[in-house]
Symmetry: D2
Subunit: 434 residues, 4 copies
């Protein structure tokens, strides 16, 4: 089985960069569509909701709205002669981490900025959207500019996921336990998770990484060959029911299952369950973006750190898959429905659904055993945009597959997400291997 | 000269507790007047401005609005049979530090609460104001209830000053340097400060503390006798001009002027000027609630810590006065105009004015050399309200006289304010003694 | 009753500065006697014991031995033409906090210095002792030099107490619970504490501070008048038995007895008893310099912080005395036996004895309610030695009376010791007032 | 070229576990030889030198001496019926991190233990050595026991390296800059480093990991196949001369060369050169275990963190090799002379020598681009000894090849050392790849 065939099949339809009239239209459509989703995500929130930074990893919603706009202004509009910035202070205020662009405003103080307010931030978006739309309409975009737009839209989609995970943290930090969106559908799905099966693979050399069709981040390249060792991989993710066994068996109190740093984290933060689980009179509840609910035992366990995923795997006598084992196994799986854009459209809860047999893509991110490293021959792009991915390749673990907070046209089999091993506020779950 | 005569002269007209029909009216008037000033202070602010906590000492404006309301609800309304709390979660959310009332929400996380929003907070105020007004109108208030109302109003006035100093910190933390209120008057007063004179006092025994006429905090009692040693005290506060000499002479670089803890603070925080001073091309600017202005050399130096006040005094070959020397010297001074309520009324900048000869009251708080300790025979009141003052009598220094952010009917000669020696965000200045 | 009479009676015989042949002899004797006690204190210790710094407040014994020597070298020998320092690096290494002498080696890293070792340190002492002895013998000492010697000896006696309290902390930090000196006397004294009595005082003006006979620190001057308010003071210190009642009554779990900062300390450090108390199967043991022993209920409670002393007093419905009330009450009390020099001489445990009726001096330091502030008219001496006391007058509380770790010829009624309110490793106890 | 052939050639002669009379002899010889080297390393040190912990990563020499002994006592002697521990408290005191054995004494407080002193620690060693020697002599050792001895000796050799790197940190932290051993040979070798060459490799599958001949840690197994991508690897390590170019070119001031976490480390610790480099009047000196010396430009750069190694590589337009590229390239290289045991024997400085063409083994550890992860199929051994390696496989980078502080019979091509990316106190250098 040739991996290049495999991967081209599954690539989501992303605009290809050839300049044709219809491309202009589709670029404009896509630009509007992606940009609109950001404001749609912010819509249920008050100005105060959009201002909070409840931990250093969290950014205020308003900051996300401005920073994604800053991206287009900085890398697309500022290049153009005669461009007048909307506000010269924004260059520094909304720079996330691009040292080449100047000294960014300190990350942990993003929640200390009351201005620009939500209204002015939305005006800033409008200002930039107008100019970018004009630019696209003008049919004069170079390939490089088209690439920046495509990168900017993907960048925005990443921030859309962060907006959702960050606002979940903000709301959960408030004893009033506010609801983001009241779920229009039944709160608890009665379906059961299918039985767990193990899919075997012999030693083989596969091609991994992006095949060049459509957009991809630089960290997915170059496409290259990897040796896969014989292994088995689980047919579905670990459920809450299975994870509860680990808890009930004393998993959080026994150091032998844990990495040394993980055991330190357990003790330092007094972890005894995934993030957002609430123990009430012996029953487990869960804080969700649609309010507090009883824990659904057949949903995939979610909001666990790498440390917890790894400890659960050791307790099970198993391990986590490498990112290449995952990519190999996931090939041929279709895009499902549990994605942010689709859930928002139907007014459904942004929350994982009962785990299924072919849920490699969507629902919950899956921690892999792979530390986040460059692919052989990897080179970051030149200039400031080279800071996008490469400088974070250290002490982070790769997650694959996207989640219920990811947009369906943002994910692909070669997509490499990454977080430090103690991060829990993403929609992150577990798939086992052995 | 008898101090008891002295102090009764200067006491601001505060409601005396005898219950008469006119008292009801005046209590209601005063209640409305004080409560209205809080919302008036918040009026120029956006919902986001009201949500920020830029350092642990700062509380969000919205929190101040809610907490002062909580005070009346908790200590007045909850006592009444059949009272339904506006929101039962508010009991904990807006408890500042009263352990007797329950576990307060952690202070440093006040800026993490997006709900209740500004609108709901104002509704909460309205709800409590309606019920308290009814209660006052009903003419059934016991002396104890009247005392709680009086304490609640003074408590609110304290928080009004904090709202102003906190919002100054919030706005100054933003690179956009927003303005709180554009000043309706000339930004820089051309008047000069009068020459410094030294008023002598022989050894004498004076009565200090509150004389019992009108409201006072428990920490001003009992009125008692203190021995004053021979000394001289300055006729006016130290000006920016004089403080600049200290800076220019290397005051911030020479450990010999500083307390050991003060020198540590200078180095840890890299202090080289008072808070809100901005050095620009060799000229000093000042961030004020009405924008950035050139430093006015004849204004009293402001936003200095006790450490800086003490170091300046040592560098001058002088010292700070004790709180009793200050109270002795200040007697007979009339209330001036540089107070929050008066400035707000005229739309003037909340900012110190050029120092004058009789500015013991208003303009800037004056650090004294006295650590904050109980008066002989001091007893906190019984119950939760006993936590108001007494438990803070440790490692703080007394400030006297009120500032441009204090209300004129909140200050008196016996008033004891207190802050830790490194606090700089209050409107605090320096008067010398020797 | 005139305080000046009072205080001259109690002043320990300290060398008076007039230069006479016998003075030379007595100065030399005293110099040798004090210097020898330091090495005697270090004698039971291994080189490793002398090297430990188990918390930032603790200094290694070896550092104390060197620093006290550095004092004579720096302020006496270096002044002399032609003096060659023992080691030029020692100037910085053993400077404690004299900024005028240069940048001191960071305090918290004193336990990181393995060199000079114990042997070389003792050689350093010998080198300096030889030269100082010659100098004293030469009969050419100026008054200023005599003052430096006297200050240096008192300085060394302070460090002798610190050596004992620091080594107690070092040994107690070791699970092996090593013994400093095996006590030659019966471990537990069977005597009972006398019943508590209250001595009354009317309002009076007293003279306090040092009367000028013999040595005193600058912080005991100027002698001046203080107004004492009517009060009662306890005839003896609080016993372990009485303090246990406080513990058993839940004193450490009830915030209402505590200063706000004190309650924070209780929670942060999980305090539930004085330092060195060990709960074992429901019985209280105590780590002492002579090993672990059952708690003696009639001994004065010891190793409590100001926060604990204050909380105990509030729980008792009492308060701590001011330093002037203490000095007034202590007048006329003779020096007792529970002092470091006497205990060392008889090979007895350095540990408090059963509290008695006239134990103002010795046994345990007594926390007062007075924050440590300068006396009216206080001026530090000029030059580097002016850093001795004055720069610490902030956020510390005064203790009076000396302890079992103080030398009997180092203490006097006017002596002002001072520590931050959370310090517990000194031999500090409680006397009540009301 | 078959890797299995390759690796068997280079394996250092390590005792094979078959039980024969001569094995007994050789085991005893090896036991004595390794154990003696530890005391030999401690010999030039004073008791105080052996007591210091100058940063949390550093352990006192005395602790190393005791902990390595504890290893044999715990895993070999305690198993035997009737064994009486030397001191029951040592079980906890000298447990490094084995949670299965009980709660270890906190690592950061190892420098707070003055007892047992150096003498008692050496007695502890003697006690255990006698019993272990008897046991070996008895010729009754099971295979499992032989494995524990072999593991214990390798464990001790690791700690010998740590003793040297830790004592270097201790001595360098002292302004007196003490010397560990005066070097008996010429301080600066006049040889030049050979020109850098690039050795190419095509894509190939190699066998990596330990081949089963002789001792190896569990983390070197299982031996397995890895796909090597086409690459070039440098013939020798980076020299001080080359690294100086990076410094002089502003390498430490330009964020574009650094990982994001690396740039944070540069700023937080104010790094501007490798550890132990000292800038003096524009010239670079180096603190070594044999005193301060001018920087030798042809020696390999040493005491750099992974962050620095990676930044240097990016600045060079190169990268670091993966651990498999390294293992592939290093095959066939002979053991050199720059190893701890050989240098100690000849009384030479424990310091890198001028870099040579075949210095894969010894001199300096070489950072690889590989995060430290388990090999496919890796399983830690059962029981407490399973904690040896596996639980640290997170956020660490692999180093290969050993250093001048490693024993020559402790290293092998498959040996995987690992440290966090900010560690600099090991003898760690750089080899480039591209």
């Amino acid at each position: 089985m040739a991996t290049d065939v495999r991967s081209s099949q599954r690539t989501p339809a992303v605009s290809n960069n050839a300049k044709t009239p219809s491309l202009m239209d589709s670029t404009l459509d896509r630009y509007k569509c992606v940009r609109d989703l950001s404001t749609q995500i912010a819509e249920p929130l008050s100005p105060e909701d959009c201002a909070m930074q409840t931990m250093p990893d969290v950014s205020p919603t308003r900051w996300h709205l401005a920073h994604t706009t800053w991206f287009f202004e900085t890398f697309l509009l500022k290049e153009r002669p005669g461009y007048h910035p909307f506000n010269t202070s924004f260059e520094r205020l909304f720079n996330s981490y691009y040292n080449s662009v100047g000294q960014p405003f300190p990350r942990h103080r993003r929640g200390h900025l009351s201005r620009p307010g939500l209204d002015e931030t939305l005006q800033y978006r409008q200002h930039v959207d107008n100019l970018v739309s004009e630019l696209i309409d003008s049919d004069t975009l170079s390939d490089a500019q088209l690439s920046v737009i495509e990168l900017g839209l993907n960048h925005e989609q990443q921030h859309q996921e962060l907006m959702l995970t960050d606002i979940k943290h903000v709301l959960a930090s408030n004893p009033l336990q506010p609801t983001y969106i009241a779920d229009g559908v039944a709160p608890v799905d009665a379906t059961n998770a299918p039985p767990l099966q193990w899919n075997s693979s012999d030693e083989t050399i596969v091609e991994v990484g992006h095949d060049g069709n459509g957009f991809a981040y630089d960290n997915e390249s170059p496409r290259h060959r990897e040796l896969i060792h014989p292994h088995k991989i689980a047919s579905r993710c670990v459920t809450n029911r299975e994870y509860l066994d680990f808890i009930d068996d004393g998993g959080y109190r026994q150091p032998e299952h844990w990495l040394s740093m993980g055991w330190d984290a357990v003790n330092q933060h007094a972890w005894d369950a995934p993030l957002y689980w609430i123990s009430q009179d012996g029953n487990w509840q869960q804080f969700t973006l649609s309010g507090v609910r009883p824990l659904h035992l057949d949903e995939p366990v979610c909001h666990v750190s790498y440390f917890e995923a790894d400890a659960f795997a050791r307790w099970s006598g198993k391990r986590l898959p490498t990112e290449f084992e995952w990519e190999h196994a996931a090939s041929g799986n279709a895009i499902g429905d549990v994605f942010c854009d689709k859930l928002m459209q139907s007014g459904s809860a942004i929350h994982p659904r009962v785990t299924g047999d072919s849920d490699f893509l969507g629902n919950v991110w899956e921690w892999t055993a792979s530390q986040y490293m460059p692919y052989p021959g990897y080179r970051p792009v030149a200039g400031a945009l080279g800071e996008y991915n490469g400088k974070f390749m250290c002490n982070q673990f790769v997650l694959r597959g996207g989640s219920c907070a990811t947009s369906s046209d943002h994910i692909r089999l070669s997509y490499r997400n990454f977080f430090p091993p103690d991060a829990r506020w993403q929609f992150s779950g577990i798939r086992l291997a052995q």
